[in-house]
Every structure is written in structure tokens, then in C-alpha cells.
Chain length 205, copies 2
């Protein structure tokens, strides 16, 4: 069959490859769901095999090994965080920032164990997990400076430094609140998160 | 010799014990100095033995083992951080906060590798290093709420939550600045650090 007559859909080899990729994606999604309620160390290929109803051998075939599997799940979870916290396209800057922060808060609440695991792995010296974490944080904070973004912070080197600190503030505040809400409601917390960015920007040289 | 006639100084056993304790303290001080420019994993009893001119056997006798030695050095380094950042007794609240933040910044600059190591160890899952780190941070942030302290933040559960986030902000800002100053001078950075606390306090419910 020549390319010009290939109008009946993908060729078998391509279809098989797509199926394989989409199957791997499904397995990663399942891994992310398992990670929400357990640590990375507790996330095993055995668990995934059991949940997915497939053999361990097949999972090793897809992921290569335990460490590669965990890293792939972490990267998938981080991608999901970045996607879920994308600010809405419309609205004024403050509203869009507030919506993004609400999505961040909900994500961390829903994926608490997995989020803590990624943090620990990244901070504890795994270069692969550090890269996953740094990429995700760069994507989250980079939005603040893109043309179609929140726009409450001028793009200067000092402001980028401040935003790195602010991201640490937001993360610690959310994790501390999940551990002990201290009488602070979700709405109050969101207000603290969203209002802190312009307040700190105003103090940046 | 009965206790009532023991007026010629400590008894020999007590003197030996004091000597032993002060010797251990000296060795810990030396360990802290070594840690300033190397990671915790790179800090070895061999290095300390060489620097101090004593035998490895004696150091094992003082510290028990490699892990115990590293934890003891970390605790010592954290104690030093807490001591060095004590706010001056006099001055208005803002000046006292600024002096404390300047001491914090200088400490992290001077002990960069060791500080990063403690962070990594604490975040990476070592319960002992986590305790050292948490105790130090609790001491640093707790000052903000003591009667003789800075006094710029009312002592409420929500404010304590905010201060946890602020400590993460300050730490990340300092570490990011050390890695890449981004044209921000030390004075500007100190201003960002000191002014952020009252600004965030004003946004706390």
C-alpha cells in the first residue's frame, strides 16, 4: 500500500504502538491514583499489577524496573498538578490567580501522601525526583510571568527570586494547614494564598 | 572525703567527666566547621580524626558511630544557628527582627553545604535529622510569639500557620539568592526578608 492510498486509518504497526502507549498511560493514571494515599516507597509494581489485573512481568516490560516505574508515576502526578492548576482563560488577574490557587490546594489535599513523597524524594537526594519536582514548580511559577497569565508581578530577576520564595510559602502553608487547620477555613486559606503574592511583589526591589 | 569538706573544687571523677564533655564539645565544634563546606554524607569520622589529631577509635568512643556522629554535628550546628540568630535585647521590634534575619542570612551563607545537608536529610526521611531541623525551626519561629520578642505578629493559631509558611519563604529566598543573587544586594534581600513578615501578618485572618 502506498502512502497516498493509506486512507483507511493507521497501519497495524502504528495502531499497535498507539495501543501500547495508551495502555501505559492508563497504567500510569492508575499508579497516580494509588500514590494519592500511599508513599512512594509503598507504591509497588505488585499493587499496580493487582489493581490493573495484569502480570508483574508485563509491568516490568512497560516500565523497566521499580525505580523507573515510581519516577514515571511521579512525573505523571506532577503533570497532572500542572494541568489542573492552569488558570482559567478569562477573568481578571486576581480571580485567575485565586482559581489556580484553589486548584493547587485541592490537588494537594487529594494527593497528600503522593505529594509528600515527591517532596521527600526530591529533597532527599534523588536526582530524577528532584528534576520532576523542579520542572513542576518551574511550570507553576513560570505562569506568573507569561503574557497571558496572572500579571500581578513584574518580570524582573528580583521578582523571580521572590516568587521562588512565595512558592515555598504556599506549599508549606498548605501542608501545615492539612496537618492542622488551626481554625482557618478553606476560604480563609485561599485568601491568604492569593493575597500573599501581590503583597510580597510590592516589597520586591 | 565527706561532701561537707569538698571545698577544694570538683572531685576528680567530676573533673574527668567535665573534661570529657568539654572535649566532646570541642570535637563537635570542629565537626560543625567541617560541615560548613561539605555535605553530611561527606563528613566522616576520618576527616574529624585527622583535623583533631586524635584516633578514630577515640571518636567512636565519644560518638558511638558514624550516624550518631553526623546527627550530633547537625544538632550542634542547629543549636549554633538558633544562638546566632537570637534578636538583640534592645531596639524596636522591626530593628530586632532585621538583626535576627541578618544573622540568619549570614549563617546560611557561611554554612551553606551543611545547611543544605541538614535540609536534605530532614526532608529525605531521617527521623533524627527531621527532629533536629524541626526543633531549630520551632525555636526560630517561636521567638516571634514570645513576650520579649519581635512582637509584630499577634499570637493566634492562624498567625502560627502563616509563620510556618513565612519560614519556608525566608529559607527558600535565602537559598535561591545564594545560588543566584539575580542582582539583588544583601541589603535588598534583608529588606525583603524583614518586611515580608508584617506584610503577611496583615493578611492573616
Amino acid at each position: 500500500m502506498s502512502p497516498s492510498t493509506a486512507d483507511t486509518g493507521p497501519r497495524p504497526a502504528a495502531r499497535v504502538r498507539l495501543d501500547r502507549e495508551s495502555r501505559r498511560e492508563q497504567l500510569l493514571d492508575l499508579g497516580v491514583r494509588l500514590l494519592a494515599t500511599r508513599s512512594l516507597d509503598e507504591l509497588s509494581i505488585d499493587d499496580l499489577a493487582e489493581e490493573a489485573g495484569v502480570s508483574r512481568g508485563l509491568l516490568y516490560h512497560y516500565f523497566g524496573g521499580k525505580q523507573e516505574f515510581r519516577e514515571a508515576v511521579c512525573r505523571r502526578a506532577a503533570d497532572e498538578l500542572v494541568a489542573r492548576t492552569a488558570p482559567p482563560e478569562d477573568g481578571d488577574p486576581a480571580e485567575r490567580l485565586a482559581a489556580s490557587m484553589a486548584a493547587y490546594l485541592d490537588y494537594v489535599v487529594e494527593n497528600h501522601q503522593g505529594y509528600l513523597s515527591l517532596l521527600r524524594g526530591a529533597a532527599g537526594g534523588s536526582a530524577a525526583l528532584r528534576a520532576v519536582y523542579d520542572d513542576a514548580r518551574a511550570a507553576l511559577t513560570g505562569r506568573i510571568f507569561t503574557a497571558d497569565s496572572v500579571g500581578v508581578v513584574p518580570d524582573t530577576p528580583a521578582a523571580r527570586l521572590m516568587v521562588r520564595g512565595w512558592a515555598a510559602y504556599a506549599e508549606e502553608l498548605v501542608l501545615a494547614w492539612i496537618a492542622e487547620p488551626a481554625g482557618v477555613t478553606r476560604d480563609d486559606l485561599l485568601e491568604m494564598l492569593a493575597s500573599s503574592l501581590p503583597a510580597l511583589a510590592a516589597l520586591t526591589p
